[in-house]
């Protein structure tokens, strides 16, 4: 495991000291520790997205999107920013990187990727992966992912991650060479298996429960949001009909004509304003989604711990059994039914030489078993230690990020209200002039 970083000052790039207008432009709500070695050197952006067509693995034409990653050395005082190094990555490569990290750092809550397919969609929003709005939001999400990894005290030091940012061609081979696939397969098999831990760690149990409930509550929130967005869209757009009718009506009136006409324009403005409002709200939804996906990562760490715990318990159990067998063999008593014991009873006692060799083998086995238990124990303890370190780090990050998200949600609501006040005040003036 990597050494912890020295405690540098923490630069918080969040929304606390930004005006509402700036907050509209600020995409990242991440708490970024400037202290990590990687970020001291590099600035990372996912700058663009482009469509490509090519042949896939089964030799069929497909269209996919690639994203441009820009790396520049971190700005020094008074220096001119250097030209960035760039490379292109597609979503599946990000997925590969993440899988690698998941396997290599099982005790770390690995930051999630933006969703593969658009979910929690309200009617106007496209669920199409190639839709430009979706692609744009995904670009932001991928940049966020890279920054999260680059700012993580452990993950930022990973070689493969560094290569991901710098080696366009050779990266895939480098990842596969680490052999993580084998670990992945075996881990996957174990994780999907049903097993019960005898003495579950209460902290992890509580964490898993919290994570599951958080998942449920955020999912519900996102579903409600989609429905509310749908309804609000309807309300605003129907006002557009006022615009049309006022305009037609103004043509037949003498006194009221001008007032109606100009009021109609304001109604059109009102109806159009919902598009921007909901676009902004989409960003809030994305922030919630990130933590929704984070809950999967948390759950995964808990499961891995369970697995290690289980393996430890199995090893200890196995050792205990062997010790028991040795005792029986040595003293000749059979306390526990065993096939060997039965056969020896049926087919006669074994010779002292046989007994000796069996004892020796058992002794060996016990020694190995003790080694295994010791190893597993250490593994478990180290896992727990490293995991809880990361969990504490995650909790802090989550509290800060989500609080900022709620604040920026409030700022959005305020902005929406201000627009409403403006439009309806204008309309009222027009009506007064009728």
């Amino acid at each position: 495991m990597a050494d912890s970083v020295s405690s540098e000052e923490v630069a918080v790039i969040s929304n606390t000291d930004i005006t509402s207008t700036e907050s509209e432009n600020n995409i990242i709500n991440t708490m970024v520790e400037r202290g990590t070695a990687l970020l001291r050197k590099l600035e990372i952006n996912v700058a663009e997205a482009e469509k490509r067509t090519g042949k896939n693995t089964v030799n069929m034409q497909e269209t996919y999107t690639v994203y441009l990653i820009e790396i520049r050395p971190a700005e020094t005082e008074g220096g001119t920013p250097a030209a960035p190094d760039t490379l292109w990555r597609r979503y599946s490569e990000f997925e590969l990187l993440r899988t690698y990290l998941l396997v290599t750092y099982p005790y770390i809550i690995i930051p999630p990727l933006p969703e593969k397919r658009a979910e929690f969609v309200w009617h106007k929003l496209s669920a199409d992966n190639l839709d430009p709005d979706f692609v744009e939001r995904r670009r932001v999400g991928l940049e966020n992912f890279l920054l999260r990894v680059a700012s993580h005290p452990v993950l930022s030091n990973d070689k493969i991650f560094f290569l991901f940012l710098t080696e366009e061609k050779g990266w895939r081979d480098a990842v596969l060479e680490t052999g993580f696939q084998d670990k992945a397969d075996s881990r996957l098999k174990s994780l999907s298996a049903m097993f019960r831990v005898k003495n579950p760690d209460k902290r992890f149990t509580a964490l898993k429960q919290y994570s599951d409930e958080l998942n449920s509550v955020i999912s519900q929130l996102l579903r409600i949001r989609a429905r509310v967005a749908d309804r609000l869209y309807g309300v605003y757009k129907v006002h557009g009909n006022y615009g049309r009718v006022f305009s037609e009506w103004s043509a037949i009136e003498k006194e009221m004509g001008d007032g109606l006409q100009s009021a109609g324009h304001h109604m059109d403005t009102y109806a159009a304003s919902i598009d921007d409002i909901l676009e902004e709200e989409e960003h809030f939804a994305d922030q919630l989604k990130e933590y929704l996906f984070y809950t999967d990562a948390v759950r995964s760490v808990c499961r891995k711990h369970e697995l290690i715990q289980y393996e430890l318990e199995m090893a200890a159990q196995d050792l205990a059994q062997k010790k028991q067998q040795k005792e029986e063999l040595a003293t000749g008593t059979v306390r526990i039914f065993s096939l060997k014991g039965m056969t020896s009873k049926l087919f006669g006692q074994e010779s002292p030489e046989q007994k000796e060799s069996r004892l020796a083998a058992l002794e060996q086995s016990i020694q190995e078993g003790e080694e295994t238990v010791k190893e597993k124990n250490t593994e478990c303890q180290e896992f727990v230690r490293a995991a809880w370190d990361d969990i504490e780090h995650f909790k802090e990050q989550k509290d800060k990020d989500l609080r900022e998200a709620l604040i920026s949600y409030a700022i959005m609501q305020i902005s929406m209200c201000k627009k409403g006040i403006q439009v309806w005040s204008n309309a009222k003036e027009c009506f007064s002039k009728m």
């Binding site: 037609e248 409030a410 209200c417 006040i421």
Partner: protein, 418 residues
């Protein structure tokens, strides 16, 4: 037609001299340069029709001499039926009323009677419509509270519109309606159902024959009426749709707060801001509901009323057309038939007079109606716009106070209240 037909205009049968005088004077009326009718009925009318926008309410208070309210709906159950009685209170300083205050009970049918009397007497004046007999929207309970209240308000407006009308407010029937404890004996008098049938038959016959040509100004009016009717129906529909969409929006919005609250219980550091957001959403939902209430009580009825007005206008135009058609028919008979010249000439003169009266009534009332419509709809729209502003201002305050509470908690004095 037999010699004993009942003519469409029954004014001759009403022996109230005052009313005849009114009509006569009104017939000779010419409009003021700005198009409003000369106020030539009782003197108190003089100030009533300025077209400037200044303090209409104050004016009315100064010049209005009759105040009518409709309230206290009460259910009445008899062996045959159940209906609602409304209390009608009148306060007036007019000399033609014996007393200065009256209180009577009237049912919807009584209002219908009053209106039909007014229309009979003044076929080309624009008599404000009554609320509809039935509401189409699948209302199961006829005596549902909302329905009764909506109807009560509309009846109140109806009587007020009549009392503000320079001609109609002096109608004998109106006075009887406001003052007689028992309306039944009055309702039995005068031309009833059969005569109205006769009018309808004749109207149909006339419309089949068709109009020779409509005078330009009435042709313009007809076109306006058709367009206006269209626009009002659209406005009515759009507004009802907005109310519906807003109701559905609020229903969904309400789902937020229990979810945020539930999340708050899950967290430690985040509990406070989450509960804050939950409470904000609750407050905003309440404001939205109030907003919907206001729309339903102010804008929706106002627009609906003018949908009905448009129908009234169409009927008025039809009746005017019929009167012209009758005259034209008789006139043609006069020109073609050689016998009975003298008798026919008399009839033609009567019909010509009647037509002139009808046209002038309408012309005079038209400007008054337009002004009234403009004023009514303007104030309804202003009110709706104000309520929207109010709604957004209240929600703004809710979210701003949340922000302040969060920023106060956050480290340092980062005070940037948006």
């Amino acid at each position: 037609m037999s010699g004993h037909t009942v003519p469409a205009d029954f004014s001759e049968h009403m022996l109230d001299l005052d009313e005849d005088e009114d009509l006569e004077v009104f017939t000779k009326n010419t409009s003021l340069p700005d198009g409003s009718p000369l106020p030539n009925s009782p003197s108190s009318m003089v100030n009533q029709y300025r077209l400037e926008d200044d303090d209409e309410g104050k004016e009315d208070a100064n010049t209005k001499d009759i105040f009518v309210t409709v309230d206290h709906p009460e259910s009445q159950v008899t062996a045959i039926e159940t209906f609602i009685l409304y209390r009608v209170v009148t306060r007036t300083t007019r000399s033609d009323f014996d007393s200065s205050e009256y209180e009577v009970r009237r049912r919807y049918q009584d209002f219908v009677w009053l209106r039909s009397k007014l229309e009979e007497k003044h076929p080309t004046l624009i008599v404000h419509p009554l609320p509809e007999k039935f509401v189409m929207k699948g209302m199961v309970e006829r005596f549902n509270d909302d329905f009764i209240e909506t109807r009560r308000r509309a009846l109140h407006r109806f009587l007020n519109k009549i009392s503000e009308h320079p001609i109609l407010s002096y109608s004998q029937h109106f006075q009887v309606f406001l003052t007689a404890q028992d309306l039944a004996p009055h309702r039995k008098q005068g031309p009833g159902f059969l005569s109205r049938m006769g009018e309808t038959v004749r109207a149909v016959a006339n419309s089949v024959r068709g109009l020779r040509s409509r005078p330009e100004e009435f042709a313009v009016m007809q076109e306006y009426v058709d367009d206006f009717s269209n626009k009002m129906c659209c406005m009515d529909k759009v507004t009802q749709r907005i109310v519906k969409e807003q109701r559905e929006y609020v229903d969904e919005l309400k789902q937020y707060s229990p979810t945020y609250a539930r999340w708050g219980e899950l967290e430690e550091e985040l509990t406070e801001p989450l509960k804050g957001v939950a409470s904000c959403v609750v407050q905003c939902s309440k404001e939205a509901e109030e907003h919907i209430q206001h729309l339903s009580e102010v804008l929706v009825p106002a627009l609906h009323e003018y949908v009905l007005c448009a129908e009234t206008l169409k009927a008025v135009m039809r009746r005017r057309d019929n009167i012209q058609a009758e005259f034209e028919a008789k006139n043609e008979a006069l020109l073609t038939r050689k016998a009975e010249q003298e008798a026919l000439q008399e009839e033609v003169d009567v019909l010509a007079d009647r037509m002139e009266q009808a046209n002038n009534s309408l012309k005079g009332d038209w400007a008054r109606w337009q002004h009234s419509m403009t004023s009514d709809l303007r104030s309804a729209f202003i009110s709706a716009a104000e309520k929207n502003v109010d709604y957004y201002e209240k929600c703004l305050a809710v979210w701003e106070s949340f922000l302040v509470s969060q920023r106060a908690d956050a480290s340092g004095g980062q005070e940037d209240v948006a």
